[in-house]
């Protein structure tokens, strides 16, 4: 095992995954980098990939007329950027911008969706790994929504 397959195996998001799946996933993957300020993904665009962060931090942002840009999460090495590729209509719902030099593995969404349709065990394995991330982010969003540090907090 070498190259991208090794990197995927060692990434915390895929810790302990069956090597057969690593091989399948690596066929959809490539190394990529982003300079500070460059966008990994932008709201409304097609969700054609997701990223495993290896180095550097990424901020997730939402923009609205008259409200400026609100940063609501920072992600770093060992974490994952992008879950909308899993759910139709496969569109990003926020922006993700490199805060510093970012090195990541980019995984092609169409490629992985096709493999998951052909091999439901792979699809189930991916769901088991993505669901905790989604639930954690949902919990975090609830806490942020509660604004617990406000005057009543």
């Amino acid at each position: 095992m070498e190259g991208i397959e090794q990197i995927i195996t060692e990434h915390p998001f895929f810790a302990g995954i069956d090597p057969a799946y690593t091989h399948l996933i690596s066929n959809c993957a490539k190394n990529t980098r982003f300079d500070p300020g460059q966008y990994l993904l932008q709201q409304g665009a097609r969700a054609e990939q997701f990223y495993l962060l290896r180095h550097g931090r990424v901020v997730l942002e939402l923009s609205g007329p008259g409200r400026g840009t609100v940063t609501f999460q920072t992600l770093g090495p060992g974490e994952l950027v992008g879950v909308s590729w899993l759910i139709p209509p496969y569109r990003w719902t926020y922006d993700a911008k490199a805060l510093e030099l970012v090195r990541a593995v980019s995984i092609d969404a169409t490629c992985l969706r096709t493999k998951s349709e052909a091999d439901h065990d792979l699809g189930y394995e991916l769901m088991k790994r993505f669901m905790p991330v989604l639930v954690q982010r949902l919990h975090a969003a609830r806490l942020q929504l509660l604004d617990v540090y406000g005057a009543r907090g």
Binding site: L60, R67, T71, F72, T74, Q144, Y149, G153
Partner: protein, 278 residues
């Protein structure tokens, strides 16, 4: 013979020596007693503070327990009493009763890793514990401070956070819930930092202070990392009046927060914290 200083119901008049702004609506008052008398306290304890003619509120010590002649309280202006207290300038008088309540379990922390989780103004009651830990640094294992607040402009004690970060023997992570300002630090809820912190759960003590919902989520996240409920301490806040367990205003299940707390072990709190409207 009757001694006013020994009577917890008898207020002592003190004066403001210094007043410093630590946030948009947060002020730190340094107080001095008559004849510069020392007021020894444990990290985590509180005083009842009186703004004359307005009322009395509980406020945790936020200064260094090694300097009992410097009585320090950090106060957010939220109601009539706290707002009046934050308006007091140098030389102004107020009254205090205390120290009251239980402190952080500093002796129990000896020889262990310590994780401090602070939310918003909750950093203030934890600051005396940080001073204690750093004054006897060799007695403890890895020390980690995880601090979350609403936005960058509401970060408390910025200079001290920077100084602690530079020491190298205290891991300091600061996060804000969201920001519209340029900010190079972390964004996200403080509980999200817990899973990334480095500590050995089998020999770690966690001290948590902040809004109650945040403390509940923090305790859950610490437990998910392997900490026993008995190794997690929270500083509780309730409607305290007498401060010594007589009036019952701060009753929380079978506990009186002013007397049994404010610092309480999570295994005594976990079930009650999930009871609505308690």
């Amino acid at each position: 013979m009757y001694s006013p200083a020994a009577d917890p119901m008898c207020p002592r008049v003190v004066r403001v020596r210094r007043r410093r702004r630590d946030g948009p609506d947060v002020w730190t008052l340094e107080l001095e007693g008559h004849r510069d008398e020392p007021i020894a306290f444990e990290a985590g304890q509180f005083n009842m503070l009186t703004a004359f003619g307005i009322g009395e509120v509980p406020v945790s010590f936020s200064g260094d327990p090694a300097h009992p002649r410097r009585i320090v309280h950090t106060i957010r202006a939220v109601g009539p009493v706290s707002s009046a207290l934050t308006r007091l300038g140098p030389g102004a008088s107020l009254a205090i009763r205390g120290p009251l309540g239980t402190g952080w379990p500093m002796s129990e922390a000896s020889g262990r890793d310590v994780v401090l989780v602070a939310g918003g103004l909750g950093l203030a009651p934890l600051r005396p514990a940080i001073y204690r830990l750093l004054s006897e640094r060799a007695r403890y294992g890895r020390i980690t401070l995880l601090y979350g607040t609403r936005s960058p402009k509401e970060i408390l004690f910025r200079r001290e956070l920077d100084a602690w970060r530079k020491r190298g023997d205290l891991a300091v992570e600061v996060t804000v819930d969201h920001t519209v300002e340029p900010w190079q630090g972390h964004v996200g809820v403080v509980t999200g930092l817990i899973a990334h912190a480095r500590f050995d759960p089998s020999r770690t003590l966690a001290l948590v202070c902040g809004p109650e919902i945040m403390m509940r989520f923090a305790a859950d996240a610490l437990a998910a990392c392997g900490l026993a409920h008995g190794a997690i301490y929270l500083s509780m806040e309730r409607n305290m009046k007498c401060g010594i367990g007589l009036c019952g205003h701060c009753q929380f299940g079978g506990l009186l927060v002013c007397r049994d707390g404010p610092v309480l072990r999570y295994d005594r709190l976990a079930a009650t914290l999930r009871v609505r409207e308690l």
